[in-house]
């Protein structure tokens, strides 16, 4: 039994090794631009954890990553790569904005869930074509989803700039240019922030923090996904197909049907990714709406080893890194994008570490099993 714990520890080791390696590389990069790495890291930590607003901002920053990480992980577990979370969440966000500003007079408890549902469906819709092409025509979903990402960019651009642009923005004539954005979303569709709730516990979040209820929603979703994957018949089939489609087929499971369902589910979750920003921070969708949650979601899924708990932790880690980067830029003069390199290095290290570690563990387990008598 003790051996098992040893192996579990080894499996956990790969993300830790990846982080350590990335920290090292980061230190080299920081030194290369003439700053003291230890000092920079210290600033990063104190900035992120010593301030209340930072903690709130970290959680806010982690929220979309939880969703996109879960979306990617579900597809990975079924043996597919959903690189299209980028496009799926943009489409979902836009449709949510549409439902948010186009529908008026609805009470909050109807409007908000409706908007969320619309976002999810938008994401699922955008994931339908790639999985269909994969299952029926063998088109690799990596390329097809990436193409749809670019198509989504153009489509959203058109919809925001040319079709739904808010022309009634209250501006003084002659001063400034109108923002290229959709009309503002009705208040009934906005997601309240957590300030009131946290105040009950004596926690007073500053006004400029936008931590909202999508964060706990994300945590709940992570729990739900955990149960889905490990405790439902569908999750069982999903994992079976992801591991060994031949055995799944022999057991009477239909691999194609399972993969389609898994990918659509992935799209559903992806669609909701942008809502924390949309419904709590911006209140409208403009051309500068944050992009990149999709790719970072891939990183989060890999770091979290496609496990909901790991994904939450990895999302928090990235939230920390992003916040820390802001502090480091302001107080230490190190460009924020150091963090992006850190993230990139982390991803590479984790996939290598996982592969190597995984093989080593497997070989050890095998040796033991063969050594033991029946």
């Amino acid at each position: 039994m003790r051996k098992r714990y040893r192996y579990v520890a080894l499996e956990l080791a790969s993300p830790l090794v990846a982080i350590a390696f990335a920290v090292l590389v980061g230190a080299v990069v920081i030194a290369a631009i003439g700053k003291d790495p230890v000092e920079v890291y210290r600033i990063m930590f104190t900035f992120a954890f010593r301030r209340l607003d930072s903690v709130g901002i970290m959680l806010f920053g982690a929220t979309p990553l939880i969703f996109s990480g879960l979306a990617v992980a579900i597809s990975f577990r079924a043996g597919l790569f959903n690189i299209g979370v980028e496009g799926q969440y943009l489409i979902g966000t836009f449709l949510a904005a549409l439902a948010g500003f186009a529908l008026k007079g609805l009470p909050s408890f109807v409007h908000l869930p409706l908007v969320i549902a619309v976002a999810a469906l938008g994401g699922a819709l955008w994931s339908l074509l790639p999985v269909y092409l994969k299952v029926r025509r063998g088109v690799h979903e990596v390329i097809s989803t990436i193409m749809l990402n670019y198509i989504a960019f153009s489509l959203i651009h058109y919809l925001i700039a040319d079709v739904f642009m808010d022309r009634q923005q209250g501006l003084m004539p002659g001063v400034g240019n109108p923002l290229i954005r959709t009309p503002k979303i009705a208040p009934s569709a906005l997601m309240p922030r957590m300030h009131g709730f946290l105040a009950l516990f004596g926690v007073d979040l500053p006004r400029h923090v936008y931590l909202n209820w999508f964060f706990p929603l994300g945590l709940l979703l992570a729990v739900a996904v955990h149960y889905l994957i490990w405790r439902t018949a569908f999750g069982y089939e999903l994992r079976a197909v992801g591991h060994n489609p031949a055995a799944a087929e022999a057991a009477g499971i239909d691999p194609a049907a399972v993969q389609i369902r898994a990918f659509l589910l992935s799209g559903l979750i992806a669609g909701v990714t942008g809502l924390s920003d949309l419904l709590s921070y911006f209140g409208y969708m403009d051309l500068d709406f944050p992009k990149g949650y999709g790719f970072t979601g891939i990183a989060v899924a890999l770091m979290g080893k496609n496990n909901p708990l790991g994904i939450v932790l990895a999302a928090l880690l990235f939230g920390f890194l992003n916040r820390g980067a802001e502090g480091v830029q302001t107080f230490a003069g190190v460009p924020m994008d150091t963090v992006v390199i850190l993230q990139g290095v982390m991803i590479l290290s984790i996939v290598v570490a996982s592969a190597v570690m995984g093989r080593y563990i497997r070989r050890q387990e095998r040796k033991e099993a063969l050594g033991a008598s029946w």
Partner: protein, 536 residues
């Protein structure tokens, strides 16, 4: 003095001695055939000779000198060329490219195509091989592809050629052509080792024949001094009906009926040709035969993994020929697959998860989509207990479980479903004695409980001891059907190697049967009417 000498060559694998102190002498310019059943040790011995395996004991001498063959490259340097059973060719490359790859005539990195063509063309002429050097290998007939493989080793200067089951995939005319080529090669001084289980062919081409059985060399005879019957006897031995507890034979109604089934195999050619059989409740029907004669495809068709192109399959009277796996399983068919790690288990998942693979949606294990983990674990627990599977726990990934326990788990799972029909394919392959005994006992117990069992096995002893009725498959057809004990081992061997039978459904006439001699001779030995031949 012999050209190639093996002295006491021994090779062991965990649990089995594949080659047991084998000593052989082969002369230069001889065609030596090496025969034996599956698992006799022929392939292993040849892998030792060609540098893929290292012997645990014994030595090899070439032209009187001791040699150590520690890699395939070393073997080639010594002039030993292996022509694999599964061709190592690049389908999209031309014949010429395949032959010269790795030892290309070149100048400054540029291929000298004309030079290559000249050299290889010369080889073709010398050994009288007819080949279009510019053709793509994937467009060639199997016989031609084989010639390419042979040329590969000749191009690299092989003096000893090892051919592993070369006629397994050839049509009769192609076999003719191959033999012509082999004789040429021999006449030019090459030494040929020819592995096969097809006795007719071996008797035609070989100068001498060595027989292996269960890792041991039974003997070497000259072609003139022997015949099919003698070889079959050496190869098959006297199967001992194992002491197993078997209930009385009281077959019930038909549970599995196969009518005129034809199933396509690789390359579109039919792997199963118009096979008809029926398995009744409370009986074990065994399919004997050397692997590769359509058994796998038959099993795949029965379990729904492969589509039949003609014929019918009925399970409990219900036709399922265009059946999907799920439906077939729902009708009560359980499948113990021959490739257990690929089809039978999900290695990355735990023992208890594998315990319900295929049953995970049944009411006791999933309610409204939710897995009843408690019930599933309990189920796994009882499987493990009943089938005596020794494990440290249920939570370990099944890939860390021994082969024997893996098979026990599959068996436990499938038998635990109370199926009406059980299709078990090579169920004891690779298992140690204990696990093997266990598996066999379980199959018998299922049969005694009224199940219909279809057993496919390359182990003849196993088939004969367990089955109530036996069918022999050869070339995709069911060529004989009898009850164990009705037929002599020689006859069985004869059927397994292509002889015609008196009882099985006659299939289409075989074209170009190589030499009527062998067949006719055995044919005349069996009685013309139905009735038990004198056992043994």
């Amino acid at each position: 003095m012999a050209f190639l000498e093996l002295r006491e060559v021994t090779k062991r694998f965990p649990g089995v001695v594949a080659n047991d102190h084998i000593s052989l002498e082969i002369d230069r310019g001889e065609i030596r055939a090496l025969v034996g059943e599956n698992g006799a040790g022929k392939s292993t011995l040849m892998k030792v000779l060609s540098g893929l395996y290292q012997p645990d004991a014994g030595e090899i001498r070439l032209d009187g000198r001791r040699v150590v063959i520690d890699s395939p490259r070393r073997a080639i340097e010594l002039g030993i060329g292996m022509v694999h059973q599964h061709f190592m060719l690049i389908p999209r490359f031309t014949v010429l490219e395949n032959i010269v790859l790795g030892s290309e005539p070149a100048r400054g990195g540029v291929l000298r195509e004309r030079e290559a063509r000249r050299v290889v063309g010369e080889l073709c002429r010398r050994y009288e091989f007819a080949l279009d050097l510019g053709a793509r290998v994937e467009d060639l007939s199997v016989g031609a592809q084989q010639r390419v493989e042979i040329l590969k080793v000749l191009y690299r200067g092989a003096e000893i050629l090892i051919l592993d089951e070369p006629t397994a995939v050839l049509a009769p005319q192609e076999v003719r052509e191959l033999f012509v080529n082999l004789r040429h090669l021999r006449d030019q001084g090459k030494t040929i080792i020819f592995i096969s289980h097809k006795l007719d062919e071996v008797l035609e081409i070989a100068d001498r024949i060595s027989v292996l059985r269960r890792g041991v060399l039974v003997g070497t005879v000259r072609r003139e001094e022997t015949d099919r019957a003698a070889l079959a006897r050496m190869m098959v031995g006297r199967p001992v009906l194992l002491e197993l507890e078997k209930g009385p034979y009281r077959p019930g109604e038909d549970r599995l009926v196969v009518e005129d089934l034809t199933v396509p195999g690789p390359g579109g050619r039919p792997a199963v040709r118009r096979v008809s059989l029926r398995v009744r409740a409370g009986e074990i029907y065994g399919i004997a035969g050397i692997e590769g004669n359509g058994q796998s495809e038959l099993v795949e068709a029965l379990s729904g993994l492969r589509r039949a192109s003609a014929g019918r399959i009925l399970i409990g009277g219900v036709p399922v020929t265009e059946g999907r796996v799920r439906r077939i399983r729902e009708l009560g068919l359980a499948h113990v697959p021959e490739d257990r790690q690929r089809r039978g288990l999900i290695l990355a998942m735990t023992v208890w998860e594998n315990g319900v693979l295929g049953l995970h949606r049944s009411p006791s294990f999933a309610r409204r989509g939710w897995l009843q983990v408690g019930a599933i674990k309990k189920h796994a627990q009882s499987l493990v207990r009943e089938f005596d599977i020794r494990l440290p726990g249920l939570d370990i990934p099944v890939r860390n479980v021994s082969g024997g326990n893996q098979q026990k788990l599959i068996l436990a799972r499938e038998l635990g479903r109370e199926p009406t029909v059980i299709v078990a394919s090579q169920p004891t392959r690779g298992l140690d004695i204990g696990a093997t005994e266990f598996v066999r006992q379980q199959l018998l117990r299922a049969r005694d409980r009224g199940r219909a069992v279809l057993l496919v096995s390359a182990d003849l002893e196993e088939v004969l001891s367990l089955s109530d009725r036996v069918g022999v498959m050869y070339g995709g057809e069911l060529v004989a059907e009898f009850r164990p004990g009705e037929v002599t081992p020689e006859e069985i061997g004869h059927y397994m190697l292509g002889g015609r039978s008196r009882t099985a459904g006659a299939g289409p006439a075989r074209d170009g049967a190589p030499g009527g001699a062998g067949r006719g001779e055995a044919g005349s030995a069996s009685p013309g009417t139905d009735g038990a031949a004198g056992a043994d």
